[in-house]
């Protein structure tokens, strides 16, 4: 297997992007990644695009995106793994380079959710769970699925709604400093607690928003990377795992088995101690589609013991200066959550963190040169955990 480096990154402004169409939005990230890497289109051997779509009009979006971006006749595929689609695209591009199939590969995440109305987006997301046995007759929503977790988690471990709320406060705090974030507004615990219930016990401010946005990374093999850059970031691991589609078939509602499995594989591959991973990792982006998801992520990733993740939130241990800073981008909660873009966006953010290129207020101290991304599709239907490193 060849080592794979990140050569360049691109990231659009996240938000309600009615100022651009789907193709213009894709080009924003591609253009930035091309410029950041110094690579031109004809050098790219493989493109993986993640786009969940359905809420936007192009049912096979790769072709129009490539046409617009001058990327024909480059080989290209779309990949999907629900809200983990972005990581799946990076994985596909990574495999293309690692296998020698491509020397340079592009992964693009793009989502334009505002081509549909809110009710329809809620509908489409809900259909991801399990169509026939869950959606058709019982209309769970994605907030609803995570509310089932939140309720059980709070019941078992004595966490309170305020603990969940602190995740939102933290992520908005950092999102305020991220110019690409959808919401650049600090919020208070009271703001969260007084927001209306969407699916009890989760409230509006526990939820990530509906977002348009794109992100891109350009990957290359070691010998190519050395020609283009003195500061490559290496993908040490990008490991996936899956869990049942039917939530009812899960062992419990306090952990995500596929996240535990993906983390175990990624730590093993990157040679990180499974017991105290937070001692090695300088900064993490975790999948806070809802506040409870970030707390469970702490536990699934080994940042906290089972049942103690909420204490990290309560004690503000995941701010800069705490035991491990998490979601300094603002997370899905404040930066926004364009479904299939999110995984790519996490890799972009962590690359910038490791290279110390983010805004000073949200720059993590980089000591070990290791960063982690945790990207969950559905309620753990698909999970990818990635480890980036300054050292090969």
């Amino acid at each position: 297997m060849r080592d794979v480096a990140i050569l360049g990154i691109g990231h659009s402004k996240f938000g309600k992007r009615t100022d651009v169409n789907f193709l213009e939005l894709g080009w924003e990230a591609i253009k930035e990644a091309l410029e950041d890497s110094g690579v031109s289109q004809e050098k790219i051997d493989f493109v993986a695009v993640s786009n969940f779509g359905l809420w936007s009009s192009e049912p096979s979006p790769v072709a129009p995106l490539l046409e617009y971006a001058g990327l024909n006749p480059t080989e290209a595929i779309r990949v999907e793994a629900a809200c983990a689609s972005g990581s799946a695209a990076v994985k596909a591009a990574y495999m293309a380079v690692a296998s020698g199939s491509a020397d340079i590969a592009l992964a693009l995440g793009i989502e334009k959710m505002h081509e549909s109305g809110t009710g329809d987006v809620v509908e489409l997301l809900a259909r991801i769970g399990n169509y026939f046995w869950e959606f058709e007759n019982f209309g769970p929503t994605f907030v609803g699925y995570y509310a089932l977790y939140a309720n059980r988690y709070m019941h078992d471990f004595g966490a309170r709604e305020e603990d969940l709320a602190k995740i939102a406060v933290k992520n908005h705090y950092y999102g305020f400093y991220n110019p690409k974030a959808q919401f650049r507004k600090k919020i208070t615990l009271e703001d969260v607690m007084s927001s209306p219930y969407i699916a009890w016990p989760l409230k509006l401010y526990d939820c990530s928003p509906i977002t348009d946005g794109s992100a891109a990374v350009i990957l290359a093999s070691e010998d190519i990377a050395k020609k283009y850059t003195d500061s490559p970031v290496w993908i040490k691991a990008i490991e996936g795992a899956t869990a049942t589609s039917n939530l009812s078939k899960r062992e419990n509602f306090i952990s995500i088995p596929s996240a535990i499995e993906a983390a175990k594989r990624a730590y093993k591959k990157a040679k990180i101690d499974l017991e105290k991973p937070y001692k090695y990792i300088d900064v993490a982006e975790v999948h806070d589609c809802f506040t409870i998801a970030e707390i469970i992520a702490y536990e699934d990733l080994g940042f906290a013991k089972r049942g103690e993740g909420f204490k990290l939130a309560r004690e503000e241990q995941t701010y800069i200066g705490g035991s491990i800073p998490v979601n300094l981008s603002g997370g899905l909660k404040s930066k926004g959550h364009p479904i299939a873009t999110t995984g790519v966006s996490m890799i972009v953010e962590l690359t910038k963190q490791l290279l110390q290129r983010v805004e000073p207020e949200r720059q993590a101290p980089i000591n070990n040169g290791l960063a982690l991304a945790h990207n969950v599709g559905g309620t753990g239907h698909y999970v990818f955990v990635s480890i980036l490193s300054l050292e090969k």
Binding site: K16, T18, D19, S57, G119, D120, V122, E123, A126, R127, F132, W133, E134, F135, N137, F138, G139, P140, T141, V143, G144, A147, L148, Y149, A150, N151, R152, H155, P196, Y197, I198, A199, W200, P201, L202, N246, L247, S248, K249, R250, F253
Partner: protein
């Protein structure tokens, strides 16, 4: 050019102006409508039993794994035609929530309690919990699996009651 025309340069086109930014937006003239037809032949036993107010799961005669949702194949033993077994009526509430913001196709229902209950034989079922006083719901409480009429559609489906 009339005053009217000035207000929207696109009046002869299916174009609306974004309320906030004022940018023109093409409003699709081709509404996509999809309604799926899902074959049930191999698991029809579940639905005929449903009419008799029974909820069935399947069980593999070889490895004795139980499957709910019911499936006729055991992927581990690679055999099909699994046995049908009845799910007991009494279960335990594992977790629940109240859905306030609904998908488009569920907007016509009152807020509903989405719940998961566990039953013997390692069966767990996600469905609605029908209860008058939502404050009385407690994780760990006993719940009953019943079949009742879904309104306004008027079809029968399983749900939980206290």
């Amino acid at each position: 050019m009339s005053e009217d025309k000035k207000r929207n340069d696109y009046e002869n086109l299916p174009i609306i102006l974004d309320k906030k930014l004022g940018v023109p937006i093409w409003s699709d003239v081709r509404e996509l409508k999809l309604k799926y037809k899902m074959p049930l032949g191999k698991i029809k036993g579940f639905f005929t039993a449903l009419s008799e107010e029974k909820i069935l799961a399947t069980r593999c005669p070889k490895c004795e794994r139980t499957f709910f949702p019911p499936q006729v194949d055991c992927p581990y033993c690679r055999i099909n035609d699994l046995d049908w077994i009845e799910v007991p009526k009494e279960g335990i509430l594992e977790t629940y929530t109240i859905i306030t913001i609904k998908p488009t196709t569920f907007q016509h229902y009152e807020d509903y309690v989405l719940a998961i209950a566990s039953f013997e034989n390692n069966v767990k079922i996600l469905t609605w919990l029908k209860i008058d006083d939502k404050d009385k719901i407690k994780i760990g409480m006993k719940v009953k699996l019943t079949v009742s009429k879904r309104l306004p559609e008027g079809y029968y489906i399983y749900e939980l009651t206290p």
